[in-house]
């Protein structure tokens, strides 16, 4: 089972290592991790996507809550949140294939942000599934380089994870 955790933490040195250390020493695996400051400059929000059964997730939430700089831990309900990650893909692009690639990029509502004689760089901001679809579509042209962020997620509607 894959689950998404939103964690509010005090914005201070060493917090990230406390959290990643907890995952490794208790044998939990992280699929994706993203950190950024919130509207309160003293508080950062970490989004973690991890795998495990119900026992693992429950233990993980409780152990995270025990860390002093952790303010709040919330498991986001599947389907009730919006998630995004950002990817930059550098794709081989011979002149003959350029139109095809542009078409694919347009269909997916991605964006070409850089062009060179033999390659283009595509920017895409979507949920992980859509990002993976774009990668699959561009693979046949030859991918030179991929860089992607961890997923960030937010509740739909009025629900919010706040201090």
């Amino acid at each position: 089972m894959q689950y998404t955790l939103s964690i509010l933490v005090e914005n201070q040195a060493g917090v990230l290592s406390k959290i990643s250390g907890l995952f490794s020493r208790r044998g939990f695996n992280i699929d994706s991790l993203a950190v950024g400051v919130t509207n309160d400059p003293n508080v950062s929000r970490i989004t973690i996507i991890a795998n495990g059964d119900e026992y693992v997730v429950e233990q993980l939430e409780k152990q995270l809550n025990k860390l002093i700089p952790v303010i709040k831990v919330k498991r986001l309900n599947e389907g009730d949140f919006i998630s995004r990650e950002l990817i930059l893909i550098k794709v081989h692009c011979a002149a003959a294939k350029r139109a095809e690639i542009i078409q694919t990029v347009e269909i997916m509502q991605a964006k070409i942000v850089d062009v060179a004689p033999s390659c283009v760089t595509v920017e895409y901001c979507e949920c992980a599934n859509r990002v993976n679809t774009l990668i699959d579509l561009l693979k046949p042209y030859g991918i030179r380089e991929i860089v992607r962020t961890g997923t960030i997620a937010i509740d739909r509607g009025t629900a919010a994870v706040s201090v």
Partner: protein, 540 residues
């Protein structure tokens, strides 16, 4: 103007600290220069790990966080085992380490170690102080975190320049506000009601009491609860001392090295009330089977403990004091069916065993069994780790005193330094150490601390010339191949005692040992008794 080092001392004074255990070094020198003039007593141990164990013994007997101090680098890394022991045993402790100067951090300079990083898995929280101004807040928070919620060690790492820098004035904060740390101490009323219902509907309930009962100071409350409801009580290793050993409804310690009576009662119970215990693998070897058979009520201050090892039907997160008050109020006049308490009592008669004696040797289980009667009823017994620990856990007849051991971490060498701490916390109490010849040699350097401070601690060494616990394991699981468990080359412990100027004697029979002990109980000086024990004496 006031320096960081002076502030550190003033913070400790403001926290009511009377004694600290430590070992100096260059990076912590500014602090040592200031504590020299203060009202706080500094006890020089002989190795830093023992400073942490002494702080642990002090904390457990005083109910206040123990404080230990070490320098940077090796001083700090030597503390780690002691800090980890306190963490696993949930003991409130504040560990203070010196650190290299801030501008040298991360450059691998002389005696630099990333101690906050190294201790991360073993501390409740840690601080690397970057500004002298932060010291009062950090100390206030550290003592608060160590001593509230589920207690544990907090580390404060302070670079030398932070100790040397001066600020205008010292103001100790009156309150603490840590946004992410608000332990829930009040047991949920609905869960308490459910628990009371379950207790009333049960036929064969038992209480399993752990270290949490002792650290929350509700020993007498839980005794009263048992007396009123007639529910039998089992303790974990850390919970020994919750009930007097001779109480008719106390069944002893559970687990792989526990009493047959306790394990049988747990096996036959239909309801288990777990109080302040985590039920690790040595307590309940197959926790899943346990919860399949009986209803589990788990009371703990740490929500993460609930459901971690044993499946729980009724969780109550809260301080034992609050929860016990509520349970006692709600339970009314309930008394468990007489048949159950009578059955349990009959086990006690049926299953008592008399240990086999060997001529020319002290039988340790019988000796420990008789020990309590020879000392004051409030005596503190500190057991080390290994067979000696099991002999003590199952045979010491505790009355109103304490039984200290490291049940969680199982750190050999714990007993002597922990006894030093216990003695400073409770100077008028009898303090007895029981250790093996293996564990004695792990901290015999602290005899200097005992001799130097003339601490009235009676040390009984159970000398079987074996690492008995591991040897027993090798007998059972490794085809009697005694790899590295024979203690060749042990020194003459009596000469060691003599070298430290500590009175001593040797015994080769229980009569002899008891005669010697009777002769020393009233002395106010330390004593070492070496008991020669038959090498094949089993743990149980």
């Amino acid at each position: 103007m006031i320096s960081g080092a002076e502030i550190m001392v003033k913070c400790l004074e403001a926290e009511g600290v009377k004694v600290v255990f430590g070992y100096p070094g260059a990076a912590i020198c500014p602090f040592y220069d200031k504590i020299y003039d203060s009202s706080i007593e500094h006890i020089l141990v002989r190795e830093e790990q023992n400073a942490a164990h002494a702080a642990s013994g002090y904390a457990r007997c005083s109910g206040r966080p123990g404080v230990c101090v070490a320098t940077s680098g090796p001083g700090a890394t030597n503390l780690i085992t002691g800090i980890a022991t306190a963490y696993m045993d949930s003991i409130p402790m504040v560990a203070i380490t010196g650190q290299v100067k801030s501008d040298l951090l991360g450059r691998d300079v002389f005696q630099e170690a990333d101690i906050t990083g190294a201790c991360e898995p073993f501390v409740k929280h840690s601080y690397l102080v970057k500004k002298t101004e932060d010291l009062p807040r950090v100390f206030k928070e550290a003592f608060h975190i160590a001593s509230t919620g589920r207690q544990g060690p907090v580390l404060i790492d302070i670079p030398q320049d932070i100790q040397e820098n001066c600020i205008d004035e010292f103001v100790y904060p009156e309150t603490v506000n840590i946004i992410g740390y608000k332990p829930n101490t009040k047991g949920h009323a609905v869960q308490v009601k459910r628990a009371v219902e379950a207790i009333k509907n049960s036929k064969r309930p038992v209480i399993v009491a752990g270290g949490g009962v002792l650290s929350s100071g509700v020993k007498l409350k839980i005794q009263a609860f048992v007396d009123k409801t007639r529910i039998p009580l089992i303790s974990t290793m850390m919970g020994i001392g919750v009930m007097p050993s001779d109480h008719e409804l106390y069944l002893g310690m559970l687990g792989t090295h526990g009493t047959a009576i306790a394990n049988r009662a747990l096996h036959e119970a239909d309801l288990v009330i777990v109080c302040g215990a985590r039920l690790g693998d040595r307590a309940v070897a197959a926790p899943n089977q346990m919860s399949e058979k009986n209803t589990v009520i788990h009371i703990d201050i740490d929500p993460a403990e609930i459901g971690k090892n044993v499946k729980t039907e009724i969780p109550i997160v809260g301080d034992m004091r609050d929860v016990m008050n509520k349970l006692s109020d709600e339970i009314g006049d309930f008394v468990v069916e007489k048949q159950w308490s009578e059955t349990v009592k009959s086990y006690q008669k049926d299953m008592k065993r008399v240990p086999k004696k060997f001529d020319g040797y002290v039988e340790p289980r019988s000796l420990v069994g008789n020990l309590s009667a020879m000392f004051h009823s409030k005596a503190i017994l500190v057991a080390d780790v290994g067979q000696n620990q099991i002999w003590c856990a199952n045979n010491f007849r505790i009355r109103e005193g304490r039984f200290l051991t490291t049940g969680g971490m199982g750190t050999m060498g714990y007993s002597i330094p922990a006894a030093v701490g216990a003695k400073f916390a409770r100077p008028t109490r009898d303090v007895i150490v029981i250790c093996g010849d293996g564990s004695f040699q792990m901290s015999l350097n602290e005899l200097a601390t005992i001799a130097g401070n003339n601490l009235n601690i009676k040390i009984i060494i159970m000398r079987n010339t074996r690492l008995g616990m591991v040897r027993e394991l090798q007998d059972k699981l490794y085809d009697c191949r005694h790899s590295a468990t024979i203690l060749n080359g042990d020194p003459d412990f009596l000469k060691i005692a003599d070298a430290y100027g500590i009175d001593h004697a040797e015994a080769n029979s229980n009569e002899e040992a008891e005669e010697i002990i009777k002769g020393i109980v009233d002395s106010d000086k330390p004593f070492i008794l070496v008991c020669n024990v038959y090498p094949d004496t089993p743990s149980i």
